[in-house]
Symmetry: C2
Subunit: 313 residues, 2 copies
């Protein structure tokens, strides 16, 4: 294996999807990119084997100078040890950075996906030039990551960024975490779909094009809202309202320079974005300049963040 003095290997262990990519210092395109689905019933070792295959393919004989990894679950960032995965068994206390260093003979750094995506948007996307930012991904869950003083802020125990489980209405509907009215309870894709379905079922007189949809998703709600369905608009506006309070509260606490929103739900269009921005503005102190922008890197944010991690390795 020849070493390239410039090549970075970026790995993304998502819940169900594995991605490996190679880029070179100063470049903003991939030299190689491979993706695979995690096999049904796969264990941590299976995923590592699949990922190593993808990595060898994109490297095609070149040894990288460093490796960066985004992991979909809690990580001890200093050692690069995975704490656990909610999706794949066997990840408990896996020393992932060490295993990759053993395999490739180069330094490796690992962090959780929200932190890595925040770093990606900061270095290569919508957060470039900001000293501080809050990144949110609104998707199956609602996660967050902080960049403060140009570095990821992990918190004392690596748990910072849990905006999804900040409470915006203590009398709101019950969340799976045991509390009521969390941001995630209103704004995640599955909860948007669930609320849309349950309220239609509970109100037979309410008209909506969503009534005929068999397996209702948040994407159906977004599309119906874009087509003018008043009920779908209401559902999306409530999600945006909850996210807006959560962002307004976070901004009052930390006053970051920018807020970057990524994840599938944020593709819901202007009805959603207007609700987020208006509620955040009404919640934040007047003295604070609100700058809420869409993420730029899309699904590649964790991979680009992994490149930034590799640069620091």
């Amino acid at each position: 294996m020849t070493t390239s003095a410039d090549a970075f290997l970026a790995l993304d262990f998502g819940g169900t999807k594995l991605s490996a990519a190679v880029t070179c210092r100063g470049e903003q395109t991939w030299r190689g990119l491979e993706r695979a689905f995690s096999k049904p019933g796969a264990t941590a070792n299976d995923d590592i084997t699949t990922m190593l295959g993808l990595a060898r393919k994109v490297l095609s004989g070149v040894r990288p100078v460093a490796i960066g990894v985004s992991f979909g679950g809690p990580v001890e960032p200093k050692s690069g040890t995975v704490r656990l995965s909610d999706h794949v068994p066997g990840w408990e206390n896996q020393p992932l950075a060490d295993a990759l260093t053993d395999e490739f003979g180069v330094p490796a750094r690992v962090d959780n996906d929200a932190n890595v995506a925040a770093l990606g948007e900061y270095r290569f996307g919508a957060g470039q030039g900001c000293h501080s930012l809050l990144y949110l991904t609104v998707s199956t869950g609602v996660g967050g990551g902080w960049i403060l003083n140009e570095r990821v802020w992990h918190g004392a125990e690596g748990m910072a960024g849990e905006i999804g489980h900040t409470v915006v209405d203590p009398n709101g509907p019950p969340c799976f975490c045991g509390k009521r009215g969390c941001v995630e309870r209103y704004a995640s894709g599955p909860f948007i779909a669930q609320d849309a379905r349950e309220e239609l079922d509970a109100n037979p007189a309410r008209e909506s094009s969503l009534r005929t949809v068999v397996e209702l998703t948040a994407q159906h709600v977004s599309r119906a809202a874009a087509a003018g369905d008043a009920y779908a608009c209401e559902v999306l506006e409530r999600a945006g309202w909850a996210l807006g309070i959560g962002i307004g509260n976070a901004v009052n606490l930390m006053n970051p320079q920018r807020v970057v929103l990524g994840g599938g739900v944020t593709k819901a269009g202007p009805i959603f974005w207007n609700a987020v921005r208006q509620t955040a503005a009404a919640t934040a102190r007047r003295e604070i300049t609100l700058d809420i922008v869409p993420a730029q890197l899309g699904d590649d944010a964790p991979l680009w963040g992994a490149v930034a991690l590799a640069e620091e390795a």
Copy 2:
């Protein structure tokens, strides 16, 4: 004037009270401490003149090596320029650090009171040894300051720490800031007293020892609760509940190592503290270790923080 290589001058411009103190490097007691009330109708220039008098008195002919200042209002911390005071006219854009440097010929640093008190508790009080902490003062208002990576976190525009105006119940009572259900709306001394009075007036059948109090304050509520008054306990528990949600949300977002609570309202006793701790624990993620402790420096926290600022000058 002789210079002492070790003397720090600490100044505290409160809303209505001015304090000046001198200590020496490595000491944790005052060599001299003088306080005066701001004269009724005083302007910024009057307060500066009074403060210079106090400073000369505590210095008694010694020139300090540096000056630190706590100011009760927003400040531009890099330049040490005051933005404004809500209490005293004429403070708009006053270059306070420069004026003190001109007067004493030594470097001066200025920050707002919540940040300076956070720094004081971190260096000399309940936050010693912590890399990160959230300090709250619960008094006439509810203010906050962050220490992250052993430094004050100001935010992009110096507005970080506004936990008092994070929303904990969007359907709650109206706050003077224009929103509903802010932490400060429930937990500040004046609002505790107002709620206690208004609910008694609205419920003539409700029994409470507070009914006979003429000018009801939060301190009366605390004392009645300590004496077993059930209504007073309810009022205090609601304040603690709101503060607990605000702290739980802040802890989910930032995961600081410790939370330090100061200010008059936090002297309300175990009924208040239990409500704060229980609600914060129920709001914070289980993976986060909650460590909520009382401030140690009392009313002197801003002055000790000013010493820490002077050390950095």
